[in-house]
């Protein structure tokens, strides 16, 4: 900073601490709730200090499931979420890097048209075309399957653009040197371009994993049998108990478990996460 003003520094700290507290508060409340018994929520106000049932609550949700709430064991939902998130993020990266490679390193008829068709996906979030997309998936017999959960979401214009931008910054001479060195298109892709894209792939993976993990509407409508429930949509089914207050301690435990994997990914891969976020939106 230009000048040293202790007061401003202190103010900055205060503002940030307040911000951190506000941001963390809902999660704190949820965590506290998950350490209490179901009966603690029947009357009065929710507790603000930790209870003693931490282990019991998490044991229940992880292993016995919430038969009472009509939901499968959480372990299974976590597994489904993981499969969906990985399928979406890896699928998006694979098809995007291949198509970006085609668009940048080849010239072929209809290249422009193909580029525009991919571009269009940027403008069509799943929410706006939900009914017809559901119909297509149903007609293809993909309801209640991992394919149905992931494939319709893996087309991504942003990932394609990111790779295209990156490929355009790779010096032309590298391709020329590789051609003189006897590398064909596939060898060049495998030996040169892919290793060079490592950071971009990792950064994109972090963002897309979060995107995939947090899908809600899509799993909600394409899965009707509980074997394919994902955790994020499962919470909703769980807190939707007719004619009764939900078992808040269990619901909150599930919420904590549902947010844990992507939050840990963000915290431990912060640098990649920031890079991925800032560059995909450029």
């Amino acid at each position: 900073m230009v000048e040293n003003r202790p007061f401003l520094k202190l103010l900055s700290h205060l503002v940030l601490i307040l911000g951190v507290v506000i941001v963390a508060f809902p999660v704190y409340v949820a965590f506290i709730a998950s350490t209490h018994k179901t009966t603690d929520f029947i009357t009065g106000v929710m507790p603000v200090l930790p209870g003693s049932d931490f282990l019991a609550t998490y044991k229940t949700v992880l292993f016995s499931g919430l038969a009472a709430a009509g939901a499968p064991p959480i372990g299974m939902m976590l597994g489904n979420s993981l499969i969906m998130a990985l399928a979406i993020s890896i699928g998006k990266i694979v098809i995007s890097i291949l198509s970006a490679y085609a668009i940048v390193y080849f010239r072929f008829p209809f290249r422009q048209l193909a580029f525009w068709i991919i571009f269009v996906t940027l403008m069509l979030p799943v929410e706006v075309r939900i009914v017809p997309t559901f119909k297509v998936v149903a007609d293809l017999g993909m309801l209640n399957s991992y394919a149905g959960l992931s494939i319709p979401l893996i087309a991504s214009a942003t990932a394609t653009f990111l790779f295209r931008q990156f490929f355009l910054t790779v010096p032309d001479e590298l391709l020329e040197a590789a051609r003189v060195d006897g590398a064909g298109p596939l060898k060049f892709f495998k030996d040169i371009l892919l290793p060079l894209s490592r950071t971009n792939i990792a950064a994109l993976f972090v963002i897309l994993f979060i995107y995939g993990w947090n899908q809600y509407l899509w799993p909600l409508i394409v899965t009707t049998d509980s074997e394919h429930y994902t955790i994020v949509m499962g919470i909703k089914r769980m807190s939707d108990v007719t004619d009764a207050e939900p078992q808040w301690n269990l619901v909150m435990a599930v919420a904590i478990l549902a947010m844990l994997p992507p939050v840990l990914v963000v915290i431990f891969m912060q640098r990649l996460f920031v890079k991925g976020l800032v560059e995909t939106e450029k």
């Binding site: 999660v27 929710m46 198509s99 010239r107 290249r111 119909k135 919470i235 207050e245």
Partner: protein
């Protein structure tokens, strides 16, 4: 369109490379979108036995539908509120964090993780915290003499979803503001300081104007976010209620299509939404292009 100076001469290979993406795009994006457009000109009878081409009737119908107009107004209020709350808070936090050299990255870590929380989960957390019978916030508000009930009071419900949606968006805006602040050349700030501008004046005259591209960009992104990604927030909390007070457009498309089974109207609403996204995307791209030039 840009390519490399040297390219591969393969004739067939590029088609294989682009095929997977193109196939997914055509089957799951372009085809359904075309279906939506086609569907929007049709009307099905209640049993789905006969369909009839009705031209623009569905569009005319939605413009005269008071619940649609209500959804439009709700969407605008919701978007503006979320964008304002999350942008203002994020800017304050980013400016504070940017002024601290040593602890900047620690605060960043502590502030960015909500980005990773699913909107649906964020909704459930706030739903719980604001629960009228056992929630902490209503309890505190009661102490202040306010009776909170988001299940009956439309304003309360709107405040609830705005807070839940903003909470998640602050981290995103924070990161972009921080990046924007760090790209402002230090020499400019120093020059202003030498010219006798204090911290407040420097922010108002130098920093904020230079951040305006970032702010504009975030405004567009936040509007897109509140229009589509917040579906889960609404669905996990108020479900559009009470009395349609939080029934945003994208939620209405879903309920009319899946629950109301009014496919023609739902499709027409989808098409209107697509037009809005396309417009916003173009605004965003114009901005990006302008941004690239300097």
């Amino acid at each position: 369109m840009q390519t490399k100076r040297t390219i591969f001469n393969s004739k067939i290979l590029p088609y294989w490379l682009i095929l997977p993406q193109l196939a997914v795009t055509l089957i799951f994006f372009v085809w359904p979108a075309c279906q939506a457009v086609w569907q929007s000109f049709l009307r099905e009878d209640a049993f789905g036995t006969s369909t009839q081409f009705v031209g623009f009737d569905n569009y005319v119908a939605i413009t005269q539908d008071s619940s649609y107009l209500n959804a439009l107004i709700v969407t605008v209020i919701f978007s503006v509120a979320v964008a304002t709350v999350s942008i203002v808070l994020a800017l304050v936090l980013a400016v504070a964090a940017n002024s601290l050299l040593k602890s900047r990255s620690l605060y960043t870590t502590l502030l960015v993780w909500p980005y990773a929380v699913a909107p649906a989960v964020a909704g459930v957390l706030f739903w719980f915290m604001f629960n009228p019978t056992i929630g902490l916030i209503p309890y505190l508000l009661k102490g202040l003499g306010y009776h909170w009930d988001d299940r009956l009071n439309g304003t309360d419900a709107m405040i609830l979803v705005v807070l839940a949606a903003s909470w998640k968006q602050i981290s995103y805006n924070f990161l972009f503001f921080l990046a924007g602040l760090q790209s402002i050349p230090k020499a400019l700030i120093e020059a202003a300081a030498i010219d006798g501008a204090g911290p407040v004046k420097r922010f108002r005259d130098i920093v904020f104007p230079l951040l305006s591209p970032t702010t504009f960009f975030l405004l567009v992104v936040n509007v897109v976010y509140t229009m589509f990604d917040t579906f889960a927030v609404i669905h996990a909390t108020t479900q559009g209620g009470p009395n349609q007070a939080t029934n945003i457009l994208v939620y209405k498309v879903f309920t009319d299509g899946f629950i109301g089974l009014d496919l023609g109207s739902s499709a027409a609403q989808s098409v209107v939404l697509m037009v809005i996204v396309i417009a916003l995307t173009f605004i965003q791209f114009r901005f990006v292009e302008r941004n690239v030039q300097y």
